[in-house]
């Protein structure tokens, strides 16, 4: 009986040409177009190489510290504790320590110290992903701003625009440094800085691990996954729309009269969606394999990720159907297909990597089904392991549970004209 409900859904879909085109042909066309059209744009920095970072120092930090001691001793006595705090707050040492402290960072970032006269040549050569220029009197000004009065000095940072990924990583490191620096300044000014406090290493370890892999993410791979996770969402709108037709045409009443529990019917819609979603993903991945030679690295994890994504889409189908049934109109599924899918696709990075635009939007994107799955597929394509995608799996599982619970609570338990 349950099987009959699923078979019926499959047959109806197979005989609906427009829906077949939308769900299976459109994504293939888009993957092909986007792979070719945007291919060159993505090849530019698709492979993550070691970040070459240069630091240009216009002053010697030790000499600067001595100069500050001289100035400060005229205002207040410098005891042992003060001496310790000054050494703890040396900005260049602090930055270099962050960049070279951990083994992972060493593997990923190579820091070169340049003399001031080498700076111009280095800038023109584009040899470095980023150059940090520490201006004259930086250390004195920095220590003065902390222990006495004065404005905080600033670095000059030059980023190589042709290497967007590496320069984004450098920006992240410097942002983190800036946060720590502000935090320590506040502590020191308020007398809370203790010598046990150390500057932590930036928490970008996992990001570095992710990008530091052997497999390139080219446009074909990116758009195969991004279009797959976008078009899978249309299944929810389609099935929910068909389900509303069943109510509208009183077929749902007939199903209830056959003593089928409404929740059994709802479950059949979820399972049908999962099966159709799986078939859709399989077709798109098979197309990508034959057309672009994209093969899946880790079958087990890919299937697990796809299953969870498909269940989330099943949950969306169920929720949309529940709302359609409650409101006695197909507005929910129509709005979802016509507007919400595009918004989810944008947030989830189906058109471009949105976290490059805004980290906040990137985080929100990870709470969209397509965003969480796309990120997971890309990690797997780069030889990621279960631990790399566990966050993605967790997000998808939470979404699936929430959607299904809401759908079950909302779904009407009777038929008829009520």
């Amino acid at each position: 009986m349950f099987l009959a409900l699923i078979q019926k859904q499959m047959k109806i879909l197979l005989r609906s040409r427009s829906e077949l085109l939308m769900l299976f042909v459109m994504p293939i066309i888009l993957i092909t177009i986007l792979s070719f059209a945007l291919g060159s744009l993505m090849e530019g920095n698709s492979e993550m190489t070691k970040v070459e970072l240069a630091i240009v120092l216009h002053d010697n930090e030790e000499e600067q510290l001595n100069e500050f001691r001289k100035v400060a001793s005229e205002t207040f006595p410098i005891n042992d504790e003060m001496e310790k705090q000054m050494k703890q707050m040396l900005p260049i040492s602090m930055l270099l320590e962050q960049l070279t402290k951990s083994e992972e960072m060493k593997e990923f970032i190579h820091v070169t110290e340049l003399k001031p006269n080498e700076f111009e040549n280095a800038r023109k050569s584009e040899e470095f992903s980023a150059i940090i220029e520490v201006p004259e009197h930086f250390t004195v000004n920095f220590l003065t701003s902390i222990f006495m009065e004065g404005d905080q000095p600033a670095f000059n940072v030059y980023v190589n625009e042709s290497e967007p990924i590496t320069s984004t990583v450098v920006k992240n490191i410097l942002d983190f440094y800036q946060q720590q620096y502000t935090f320590f300044t506040a502590l020191a000014k308020n007398g809370f800085l203790s010598d046990e406090m150390t500057v932590p290493t930036p928490e970008i370890k996992s990001e570095i691990q992710t990008v530091d892999t052997e497999t390139k993410i080219n446009s074909s791979i990116y758009y195969t996954f991004s279009m797959s996770v976008m078009f899978i969402l249309f299944i929810a709108g389609t099935i929910a729309g068909q389900s509303f037709l069943e109510k509208n045409m009183h077929i749902f009443d007939r199903i209830l009269l056959a003593r089928i529990h409404p929740l059994t019917y709802l479950a059949s819609m979820i399972v049908s969606t999962v099966v159709i979603a799986f078939i859709q993903v399989a077709i798109l991945f098979a197309f990508a394999y034959f057309a672009f030679g994209i093969s899946l690295n880790q079958w087990g994890l890919t299937i697990l990720l796809t299953l969870l994504l498909a269940i989330v889409v099943g949950g969306i189908t169920a929720l949309l159907s529940s709302i359609n049934y409650r409101s006695n109109s197909a507005n929910a599924s129509n709005i979802f297909s016509n507007a919400l899918v595009s918004i989810l696709a944008l947030l989830g990075g189906s058109f471009f990597n949105i976290s490059g635009l805004s980290p906040v939007l990137g985080k929100i994107g990870m709470w969209t089904p397509n965003g969480a799955a796309l990120d997971g597929y890309l990690k797997l394509a780069q030889n990621g392991s279960l631990s790399d995608i566990q966050h993605n799996l967790m997000n998808l599982a939470v979404m699936a549970i929430v959607l299904i619970v809401c759908a079950v609570l909302l779904f009407p338990k009777r038929g008829g004209i009520a």
């Binding site: 009986m1 099987l3 009959a4 409900l5 078979q7 019926k8 047959k11 109806i12 005989r15 609906s16 045409m249 009183h250 077929i251 009443d253 007939r254 199903i255 209830l256 009269l257 056959a258 003593r259 089928i260 009777r414 038929g415 008829g416 004209i417 009520a418």
Partner: protein, 310 residues
């Protein structure tokens, strides 16, 4: 026996169905007659346990089925007014699908589908996609789905709406056969009084959510036993003549349809001489004058002051 006791349904403070009572015994055909909007479909939805009543009860063998509708649903087949079929599937696929929902065994289901297809006259069209069917064929399949699991009671809600006369006759014959040959009890709702008159043993007339008359055909027609219905045909329509008729104190239920006018008059009164005088006065030629047996249409007009199909 299925009984409906004081069934009421209120939508937004309006009683769509108001204190309705009726019953159906095994093997009989009961008609529920009323114009569109009378509350027939709402009554059917409550009777089939799809919509909960605001008050009242539905009894099967004197047991309430509102809380546990499974026992009623098992013996009930419902033909909704809408074509409740999958248009993308064939007739056979539709029947197999609904049969599977009733958990029928594979062989039994196959045989049953063949039998039903034969009963509804679609055995040669069973592999055709339903959306390519005519309206009449869809209506027949709509009935076929409801009788697939061999229910004891069939509820048919306006099963002949919007179809050609040939399909309509086929459906009426099928319904009749289901009753006489398979001994199915049938509740037949319609606003076509001639269908109800042809098929039903007992009739309930509904208007504005209430049962306004009930009984056997003869009992209902006896409501008009003191009156005759007269049908006159004129050569051409005349407003003056019609106004004159309406002002006549002896006539009631005057209904005009172009050059045809019907009215009722007390039995024993020969109204023909008066009518001829009026025709002469208004220069109208009388083509025919017929004293009719009262129909359900006349009864409805008499009870409500409105025609059934208005």
């Amino acid at each position: 026996m299925i009984e409906v006791v004081n069934l009421t349904k209120t939508f937004k403070k309006v009683n769509a169905v108001d204190q309705v009572n009726f019953y159906i015994e095994p093997g009989e055909i009961v008609g529920l007659l009323g114009p569109n909007g009378a509350g027939k479909s709402t009554t059917i939805a409550m009777l089939s346990t799809l919509v909960p009543p605001t008050s009242g009860d539905v009894l099967l063998q004197q047991q309430s089925v509102l809380k546990n509708p499974a026992s009623l649903r098992k013996v009930l087949g419902v033909v909704p007014q809408e074509i409740a079929l999958y248009e993308e599937l064939t007739a056979r696929e539709n029947l197999l699908f609904f049969g599977n929902l009733y958990k029928m065994q594979k062989d039994q289901l196959k045989n049953r589908v063949d039998t039903v297809l034969q009963q509804i006259g679609l055995q040669h069209e069973s592999k055709k996609i339903v959306k390519h069917y005519s309206g009449g064929m869809k209506r027949r399949l709509n009935i076929g789905v409801a009788m697939l699991h061999e229910p004891d009671y069939l509820i048919m809600d306006e099963p002949t709406v919007g179809i050609d006369p040939q399909s309509r006759n086929h459906i009426l014959e099928t319904v009749k056969k289901l009753n006489t040959e398979s001994n199915k009890a049938i509740i037949y709702t319609s606003h076509y009084m001639e269908e109800v008159e042809y098929l039903c043993n007992r009739i309930y007339i509904m208007d504005k959510g209430r049962i306004i008359a009930s009984g056997t055909k003869d009992e209902i027609k006896a409501i008009l036993s003191s009156e005759n219905t007269i049908l006159v045909k004129l050569e051409k329509h005349s407003n003056d003549f019609l106004s004159e008729l309406m002002s006549q104190p002896l006539l009631s239920n005057i209904n005009a349809k172009e050059a045809e006018i019907s009215f009722t008059v007390a039995k024993g009164i020969n109204y023909l001489p008066t009518l001829l005088t009026l025709c002469e006065m208004h220069h109208v030629t009388l083509k025919s004058y017929e004293v009719k047996e009262p129909t359900l249409e006349d009864i409805f007009l008499h009870l409500t002051g409105r025609a059934l199909r208005n």
